[in-house]
């Protein structure tokens, strides 16, 4: 049974149909990539899944429930977490606090919300440090988020999403703006997450996508024009024409 399924999910802005009747299924525990040229509607598709934007029509079935149009903070509590394409962190807070806030949000009860000192939640702090260690920021926990390099901020971006212990993890170009070296580190990191989380990945680096994904959906002008495993996608004539071959529709 798929963990998440969209049914003819559509989002239009006036005359522009950014996401056009996208039907897609993601199996529990799999890594499903969404590729496509810039402006194909991939990020808008993520925004619909996480509630940042409400769909114009269509359904999003997550774990048997229709969650289309649910506000973002509720969707987070259902267990969907995302990383952003453009780094979205809390710059003047410490790196530990950045991640700690994600662990606290997912607590069953918010006991002591306005009274207990934030550093008196040993279990959450331990979990936050563990996630930071996993992405390679363990040593820098006490620095402010704005003090670290862009590459490290991308790692932090990922750590914030992981700290929520999500059932569905949406990664929006985790490698955006990274140097070749940093990209390799990021790819290794995402590879380690595979199997432990159900992941939907948006990525431009096609070789990365081909080697890592269980399934790939190709978006073009808002629609899914092809879906399959990496081998099928590489052979797909329309995909080659629209994306891999670099020939853009007139």
């Amino acid at each position: 049974m798929p963990l998440v399924r969209t049914e003819r999910l559509t989002k239009s802005f006036g005359a522009l149909v950014a996401v056009n009747a996208v039907t897609l299924e993601v199996e529990e525990g799999s890594l499903h990539s969404v590729i496509g040229p810039n402006g194909a509607g991939k990020t808008t598709f993520f925004n619909l899944l996480t509630g940042q934007q409400a769909p114009t029509s269509g359904r999003i079935i997550f774990d048997g429930r229709d969650i289309a149009g649910t506000p973002p903070h509720r969707i987070a509590h259902l267990g969907i977490a995302r990383s952003f394409q453009r780094t979205s962190i809390f710059p003047t807070l410490s790196i530990l606090d950045n991640v700690w806030l994600a662990t606290f949000a997912r607590q069953e009860s918010w006991r002591g919300l306005a009274w207990r000192r934030a550093d008196r939640y040993p279990e959450l702090t331990r979990r936050a440090l563990e996630v930071l260690g996993e992405v390679g920021l363990g040593e820098k926990a006490s620095l402010l988020a704005r003090e670290i390099s862009h590459g490290e901020q991308r790692q932090l971006e990922l750590a914030i999403a992981l700290a929520a212990a999500p059932r569905l993890l949406l990664l929006d170009e985790p490698g955006a703006g990274l140097s070749p070296d940093e990209t390799q580190k990021m790819v290794a990191l995402v590879r380690k997450l595979k199997g432990r989380y159900t992941i939907i990945l948006i990525e431009h680096k096609i070789d990365v996508v081909m080697t890592m994904s269980d399934r790939i959906s190709v978006m073009h002008f808002g629609s899914v024009i092809a879906e399959g495993n990496p081998v099928e996608i590489q052979r797909h004539p329309e995909v080659r024409r629209a994306y891999l071959g670099g020939v853009v529709a007139p």
Binding site: T50, Q52, P71, P72, H73, R74, A76, H77, A81, R82, F84, S88, I89, F90, P91, T92, L93, D97, W100, L101, A102, F104, A105, R106, W110, G112, L113, A114, W115, R116, R117, A118, D119, Y121, I160, A164
Partner: protein
């Protein structure tokens, strides 16, 4: 000794020494205004919500508690408790409307609603006294202790201030404090993490309103009158001003700001009628060079001194 312990010692020293050097009424007003500033700072400094309507809560509490003190002779604790409740409830109502919008529209809403409360107080002369204010607010004794003597009232207010500061310290160091800062830094991400942003902002309003309410009642009992200005937008602006000068977003900023603002306005104003000019200059300096107010200037001074001292010490040692 940690920075926090040092700050508390400095504040305790100030509480003890202030009435020696400054007129008691002014010294009392400084701590009252500091409580008012603590409430605003949670909104402005920690949550990033510039409220230009804090006098709404301050004034409403002062009028309600003042009225009941004057005509029904309620006791001090009830008056203070009521003030806190009125401050919190009016802040909940105003905040509920304001958090629906952000940026400039948010600021204008806080301001517009403040004006609404102001003109209500202005028109409703039978209760509020309109332009003349509501005079004759008594200062009942506390558990048999007479607080009519200025120093006695000063002590009572100073204790309440210290208590308020401790409460605020707990709040800003709690998860809520962190969440509010996260909202200030990046609302979108805070929401994506699972925080109901409007509700958290509302919480900041209610807490800020409760502090304003407490300050309002203490103010009414200090001067024995609720002046119309106490609910006016100039008063709202003053507390923003004072908090910015002291350092918004730092726990002790509004305390320092209140000291600077009240002391300047009460002492310099008697010597020089154009004293707001001085405030204006201070404000410009803060905005241009020390966005973190006196607190930041102080930290930068010590950092600068440490940097310039190290070589001199080494140089002095060298010849020997």
């Amino acid at each position: 000794m940690t920075a926090s312990v040092k700050a508390w010692l400095a504040i305790l020293a100030a509480v003890v020494l202030l009435p020696v050097f400054v007129r008691h009424a002014i010294a009392t007003e400084i701590w009252i205004f500091a409580i008012f500033g603590l409430g605003l700072n949670l909104l402005m400094g920690y949550t990033g919500l510039l409220s230009f309507g804090q006098a709404t809560f301050f004034g409403s509490a002062a009028y309600v508690a003042g009225y009941l003190l004057k005509f029904y002779g309620i006791n001090v604790f009830l008056a203070l408790g009521l003030g806190i409740v009125v401050g919190a409830v009016s802040a909940a109502a105003v905040g509920y409307l304001c958090v629906q919008r952000s940026g400039l529209y948010f600021i204008m809403l806080t301001f517009a609603l403040n004006q609404m409360f102001y003109f209500t107080a202005y028109q409703w002369t039978t209760v509020t006294g309109g332009e003349d204010g509501m005079p004759g607010i008594p200062r009942p004794s506390v558990l048999g202790l007479d607080i009519h003597r200025p120093l006695a009232y000063y002590a009572a207010v100073a204790l309440l201030f210290l208590f308020s500061l401790w409460i605020m310290k707990r709040i800003v160091e709690s998860p809520l404090g962190k969440i509010l800062q996260a909202i200030r830094e990046n609302e979108l991400r805070a929401e994506a993490l699972g925080y109901d942003v409007p509700r958290m902002k509302l919480a900041a309003f209610v807490v800020g309103g409760a502090f304003s309410g407490l300050a309002g009642v203490l103010y009414a009992m200090l001067f024995g009158i609720v002046p119309l200005e106490s609910i006016g937008f100039v008063f709202s602006g003053n507390v923003v001003f004072a908090t910015l000068i002291g350092g918004s977003g730092s726990l002790y900023g509004p305390v320092i700001g209140s000291f600077v603002f009240i002391w300047l306005s009460e002492s310099v104003s008697s010597m020089w009628a154009r004293w707001p000019l001085l405030l204006g200059v201070a404000f410009v300096i803060v905005v241009l060079f020390f966005r973190g107010g006196v607190v930041e200037a102080w930290a930068r001074f010590w950092a600068w001194r440490a940097a310039h001292r190290a070589p001199t010490v080494a140089g002095a040692d060298a010849p020997r």
